[in-house]
């Protein structure tokens, strides 16, 4: 077994993805706050490709280099006032983001509980 059994691969990935989910929550919040600002184009984070590359390469020390980029999302055409935020889309994205965060938090907790019960031996 690896020497470092607390900060192993799954923990590192879970931590990184939780911090990404936190940042994504901020981006979605900003989209919601600007739902009626004329000319506002919805924003999103771009990190998936880089994250997948690092995880596939197997060298998780590169996780620090995965820095999300703030990009404009022009997938939806803007309305007459130049704003392309759709509240229903933001709510869905926010819900998915929250579920992902909860899942990661639970995975981390489960891992810690496994270690704890193996240390207690009961």
């Amino acid at each position: 077994m690896a020497v470092n059994f607390i900060n192993d691969d799954s923990t590192l990935i879970a931590n990184k993805m939780m911090s990404l989910a936190m940042e994504r929550q901020q981006v979605i919040s900003n989209n919601m706050a600007n739902a009626s600002t004329p000319g506002y184009i919805r924003k999103d984070l771009d990190f998936q490709k880089k994250l997948a590359e690092v995880i596939q390469s197997g060298d998780l020390s590169q996780l620090h280099d995965v820095k999300p980029q703030l990009v404009d999302d022009n997938a939806d055409a803007p309305k007459l006032d130049g704003n392309n935020v759709e509240i229903s889309k933001e709510m869905t994205q926010m819900m998915q983001n929250g579920v992902l965060f909860n899942l990661l938090a639970r995975a981390y907790n489960t891992k810690m509980n496994i270690i704890r019960s193996s240390m207690k031996g009961a």
Binding site: Q26, A33, N34, T37, Q69, M95
Partner: protein
């Protein structure tokens, strides 16, 4: 990363205060729906929203693009109001016509409902952000 335990709380707070200001302007328009004056009637007011960029020292690459929203100015709708014939009125012109405000109650109610829904959206995002912070401080328990 800037230390923000509740992700996006400042942004959502800015959204909520902007929507509240919009509601107050609607309230002012509705309250003044019958206000006339010697220099013309009350003119409908409306809020202009503007995106804010985060220029704080703690701004990271991502956070620097996210500062929420603000009401940049409150403008007056300069379109002329209807005129009604009321020669007895103190604000009537020489032709006996009085200008009434260009406030449309229906339009104002629409604006009020939109602002309320937007406020609720920000509030529900705030709730989820709070749940995330709850989960964070309970990690490993």
């Amino acid at each position: 990363m800037a230390f923000e335990l509740i992700p996006g709380s400042g942004i959502l707070a800015s959204g909520m205060s902007a929507e509240r200001e919009r509601m107050e302007i609607v309230a002012s328009n509705l309250a003044n729906a019958n206000s006339t004056g010697p220099n013309g009637a009350y003119r409908r007011r409306f809020a202009v929203f503007q995106t804010v960029l985060n220029d704080g020292l703690d701004a990271t690459e991502v956070a620097s693009g996210l500062g929420g929203v603000k009401v940049s100015s409150v403008e007056q709708d300069s379109s002329a109001g209807n005129k009604i014939y009321a020669p007895y009125h103190p604000n009537a012109g020489p032709d006996g016509m009085v200008e009434v405000p260009n406030v449309s109650p229906m339009e104002e109610m629409m604006d009020l409902v939109t602002a309320t829904r937007a406020y609720e959206t920000n509030l529900s995002a705030m709730k989820q952000a709070k749940d995330m912070a709850d989960k964070t401080i309970q990690l490993g328990k």
